[in-house]
């Protein structure tokens, strides 16, 4: 009895799509505001720089020509000019610190601001563009304060969706070919589990909450999101979530049944990074290694900012791909989360500081 109800399906789609749309709208709003605030500032600064430069050149020309070319030699001329240039250099250094330059194209265009807004709420934060005005900085803080939870929600949502799809794919396509025996055992396990579910108190919310409490990072609340989603009728995931520590299952079968092997998860992440790197190497004139490095640093949200995609016309596409990549990363973390926790618990047991992980009772029956 899944959610074949069209009403439910529609509502579910709306939830996923609605969240994604909210994120897009949020990004657009941020881009517009940042462009308004910082773009103006940048334009003013550039004008100022231009003025400074023309002033300097005029001064030099005046010194050179008007004061007389003949009774000056190079040394004395260069003395005077050097001072002027030093000032100019200082001015320019200041503008470089602020990130403004009249040499490079305007940075706070709409697409540039959109890219910047994305770096804010994904917490990548390259820093090649940063708000300089006080209002810009204040707005940036507020924007981040609301945008980061929003993004986490979206990522968790879409990530769990992707995770389900990948598990489904893996189970349907790869499992029958790889391991036929476990497939049969898993059917039996499923039956057993359904019986158990009927008979026992399901502690899935307990387990789910304990998952959350173990690692308090945002991406790890996918299990909660799954729990939420299961109320829409996905019984499969209920089993997945609720029976992670079910002591009716063998350890191996449990691993094969519900968790992808760690290698597959890592490979998936690696694959996506390679694809992204290939994309960027087509757009930019970096080496492939540099592109890969850039995609890794970006997708892990470290975001140094030493390598920045420069071509403005691809910024929207880059933003989209980066967001997609973060979803993939979230999915990988989701898929590997239960494995990591299980191995941590197992390690704790081996060392002797935690009880045996499989001793928790699965159903609510009391044994005196």
């Amino acid at each position: 009895m899944g959610f074949c109800n069209p009403h439910c399906l529609l509502a579910l789609l709306f939830t996923h799509g609605g969240l994604a749309c909210m994120l897009v709208v949020y990004a657009i709003i941020g881009a517009a505001v940042f462009q308004a605030i910082e773009g103006q500032f940048e334009i003013r600064e550039r004008i100022h720089l231009e003025e400074v430069r023309s002033n300097v050149l005029t001064t030099i020309w005046n010194i050179t020509v008007i004061d007389g070319h003949e009774d000056m030699n190079f040394t004395s001329w260069s003395e005077q000019v050097r001072d002027i240039f030093r000032e100019y250099e200082h001015e320019h250094r200041r503008s470089v610190i602020h990130g403004v330059s009249d040499v490079l194209p305007l940075r706070w265009t709409f697409s540039g601001s959109l890219f910047f807004a994305c770096t804010v709420f994904t917490t990548i934060g390259y820093g090649h563009m940063a708000p300089e005005t006080t209002e810009g900085r204040a707005f940036c803080m507020v924007y981040a304060f609301f945008g980061i939870p929003l993004l986490m929600l979206v990522l968790v949502d879409l990530g769990s969706l992707l995770a389900r799809g990948t598990k489904f794919l893996y189970l349907k396509i790869f499992r029958p070919y790889i391991n036929k025996n476990s497939g049969r055992v898993s059917c039996f396990e499923r039956k057993e589990k359904t019986l158990d579910r009927q008979q026992s108190v399901v502690k899935k919310d307990v387990k789910v909450k304990s998952n959350v409490n173990e690692m308090g990072t945002p991406v790890n609340d996918t299990s909660k999101a799954d729990h939420w989603k299961t109320d829409f009728g996905r019984d499969e995931t209920v089993e997945n979530q609720g029976d992670t520590e079910d002591n009716n299952n063998e350890d191996n079968e449990k691993k094969d049944e519900f968790d992808l092997p760690m290698l597959a998860i890592l490979a998936f992440g690696f694959l996506y990074m390679c694809v992204l790197a290939a994309l960027f190497s087509a757009w930019e004139n970096w080496s492939y290694f540099e592109c890969f490095y850039f995609s890794f640093i970006t997708l892990s949200t470290i975001g140094f900012g030493d390598l920045i995609p420069e071509h403005q016309k691809f910024t929207i596409a880059s933003s989209f791909f980066i967001l997609l990549g973060m979803t993939v990363m979230t999915m990988c973390i989701t898929l590997s989360q239960s494995k990591i926790e299980h191995s941590l618990k197992w390690m704790g047991w081996r060392i002797g500081i935690k009880p045996k992980p499989k001793e928790t009772p699965d159903d609510g029956s009391i044994a005196a």
């Binding site: 109800n5 509502a11 050149l57 030099i60 020309w61 070319h69 190079f74 001329w77 260069s78 000019v81 050097r82 240039f85 320019h92 470089v96 770096t119 804010v120 917490t123 990548i124 934060g125 390259y126 940063a130 300089e132 900085r137 803080m141 981040a144 304060f145 939870p149 008979q199 026992s200 108190v201 919310d205 307990v206 304990s210 959350v212 409490n213 690692m215 308090g216 990072t217 609340d221 939420w228 109320d231 009728g233 490095y293 890794f296 640093i297 892990s300 949200t301 470290i302 975001g303 140094f304 900012g305 060392i351 002797g352 500081i353 009880p355 159903d363 609510g364 029956s365 044994a367 005196a368």
Partner: protein, 631 residues
């Protein structure tokens, strides 16, 4: 495959395991010499320490140091070979400017433009690579301390970018370092965050309980004044408190909303509703049931020696069961005020059953008691049968109710009320335990039956089991109120206690802001040319791990300040992770509520239908059960 069959072996197995483990424990304690045991304990303590919070922190520090050393080795030479071309550009530019003066203004201007651009590029290059105007590095960025900062920014994913690895080897190492370091850092931060969250929750809960106790005390005091005569000692209350006819009489007297009389009520009314007879019956019942007499005139229970004669009316003793509607969260309330029903005019009080026990089990218990008083096989037979029942129930409840409130011991009261009538009595020392939401209500019957099975070899147990098992009580059984879990750890117990308490989000946000302000103050005091707003901005950007890198504190060569920065960052980040952990629970609960109200959740719809169906069924069924078999 009968479900109950499947359960028994597992339970037996588990019991066996437990017995074995207990046996092993005992033998260990007695057989092993003292020294060995102490050594084991110390080993365990050491292990616990190392893999506890402090141990994880140490691990993190070691990881950082290792990374710093590696980066220093990989990057420092490459950095030193960075040279500035600025001075050369300057020279060339000046020469050209001098030489081009003769070509006329236009030509000169063009050349000047080209060369000033180059000049600017070089200035920017110098600036970005930390080279001074003279072309010499201000300080090497890849000292051990500098590399440490870079490592911190990598594993916390802040990533300022003021110093980045340039060599290929450095970049590859950076990627692998991040691959292992980021999850490690997350684990450590989450660990500390969880610790912080737990302590915050317990503090808030204590404050909350204190405040609510104060208000409850106030309430209780006021209600006590009102209902002093009606207080009954809860633990002595008979489960069967009131006869059926008596209840009828009471109800007639109370002018309740008239309900269509159910079958058994009609039948029992045949016997007559004589009030006097009822009174005698009740007093007899009272005598029989308690160690005390129920003086109906004054409504007081007095202690007397029991008169263990069987009342002729004991056949008509019927428990009044509370048919409970859907548990609204399954709350036991503190101090249910007996506000409404027992008008002073009524001469007696209703005995309240607040424990919700499925009908069938109830019937069986009653049957057992009234039929063969000394043969329930509970093992702890007393002359007063009901005490036993009470005790059993209380025992079960106590055994399986995990929460022991620190301030008040839990005690249970039994209250009954008629269906459709509001609660009509108080019970003292009562507390409601709010169950977590989304609990499936299954299995209390099975639970009770299992316990009955295992503990007492009643003759009727199999019948009870099967009956109880096959009954689906979608309405609240106790299972929905309590959790029948075995807890090994104190931690788990505490977690269970704290689980449902939601720290108000205001406090969490306040904590975050305070943290931010503290950091801002720290940086403002330390950096000379920063305004407070700049310091605040920097702290915010760092704590959210965005890490632009446009403002970087100048580490003026004081390693202690550097270390302080690193510690502050880690603490701040763990606070952030605590916030996230606390907030997301609430957020998802809210979202779920929203989803439920939208009507998307299929289960809600289904549940509503089930509830409606069972309500309909229950209305048709009777509340009162006659011993004559009409139940």
């Amino acid at each position: 495959m009968k479900p109950s069959d499947e359960h028994r072996p597992t339970n037996l197995m588990r019991a066996k395991e437990r017995r074995q483990s207990i046996r092993v424990l005992i033998t260990d304690q007695f057989v092993e010499p003292e020294k060995k045991r102490r050594l084991k304990n110390t080993c365990r303590t050491i292990n616990k320490f190392f893999f506890s919070h402090l141990g994880l922190l140490l691990l993190l520090v070691v990881y950082l140091l290792a990374g710093a050393q590696t980066f220093h080795m990989l990057e420092s030479e490459a950095a030193q070979s960075e040279k500035s071309v600025l001075s050369e550009t300057r020279k060339t530019m000046l020469e050209i400017l001098w030489n081009e003066t003769s070509s006329g203004y236009e030509e000169w201007k063009k050349q000047a433009d080209i060369w000033t651009d180059k000049f600017k590029h070089d200035v920017a290059h110098n600036e970005n690579h930390g080279l001074e105007a003279t072309g010499l590095p201000i300080e090497s960025h890849w000292t051990i301390l500098g590399s440490m900062i870079v490592c911190v920014t990598i594993i916390t994913t802040i990533g300022y970018g003021h110093v980045t690895p340039e060599t290929i080897g450095g970049r590859i190492f950076c990627m692998f370092y991040a691959l292992v370091g980021v999850p490690l850092c997350f684990v450590v931060l989450a660990d500390i965050g969880k610790l912080l969250a737990r302590s915050l929750k317990s503090v808030c809960m204590k404050v909350d309980v204190y405040l609510s106790n104060k208000s409850a005390d106030r309430r209780r005091r006021s209600s006590k004044i009102r209902n002093s005569s009606k207080h009954l000692d809860v633990s002595r209350l008979a489960y069967y408190g009131v006869c059926d006819e008596e209840r009828e009489a009471i109800n007639c007297k109370k002018k309740k909303r008239s309900k269509p009389m159910s079958e058994s009520r009609r039948k029992s009314n045949v016997n007559g509703g004589n009030i006097n007879r009822l009174r005698t019956a009740r007093s007899k019942v009272g005598m029989r049931l308690n160690n005390s007499t129920w003086d109906s005139s004054t409504d007081m229970l007095t202690q007397t020696t029991p008169d263990i004669t069987r009342s002729p009316l004991c056949n008509n003793i019927q428990p009044v069961v509370e048919e409970i509607d859907e548990v609204d969260g399954g709350h036991f309330e503190e101090n249910i005020p007996s506000s409404t029903e027992p008008s002073p005019a009524s001469e007696d009080d209703d005995v309240s059953v607040n424990v919700k026990i499925p009908r069938e089990l109830l019937n069986k218990l009653r049957l057992d008691l009234t039929n063969g008083h000394n043969e329930t096989g509970y093992g702890r037979r007393d002359e007063n049968g009901e005490l036993l029942i009470n005790e059993v129930i209380l025992d079960l409840l106590r055994q399986h109710h995990p929460v022991k409130h620190k301030h008040k011991p839990l005690s249970y009261s039994l209250s009954c009320r008629e269906r459709g009538s509001r609660k009509s009595s108080i019970a003292t020392n009562q507390r409601r335990y709010s169950a977590p939401e989304n609990r499936r209500r299954v299995g209390f019957s099975s639970a009770i039956s299992q316990s009955v099975n295992d503990r007492h070899n009643s003759t009727w147990k199999s019948e009870l089991c099967s009956n109880a098992y096959n009954v689906e009580s979608p309405r609240s059984s106790l299972a929905s109120d309590f959790k029948f879990e075995e807890k090994d750890d104190e931690n788990k117990k505490r977690e269970e206690e704290n689980k449902d308490y939601e720290v108000p989000i205001i406090i969490v946000v306040l904590l975050l802001t305070l943290n931010n302000f503290a950091g801002a103050l720290f940086f403002y005091k330390w950096q000379e040319n920063w305004t407070f707003f700049q310091a605040f901005y920097f702290t915010f950007i760092s704590l959210t791990t965005i890490g632009f890198g446009d403002i970087i504190p100048v580490f003026g060569g004081h390693p202690s300040v550097l270390i302080a920065t690193a510690i502050f960052l880690l603490f701040g980040l763990s606070l952030v992770s605590m916030t996230i952990a606390l907030a997301q629970e609430r957020f998802l609960k809210q979202a779920q509520k929203v989803a439920n109200t939208i009507g998307v959740a299929k289960r809600t719809i289904k549940r509503r239908q089930t509830i409606r169906r069972t309500r309909r069924q229950a209305r048709r069924n009777t509340l009162m059960y006659g011993i004559d078999g009409n139940f």
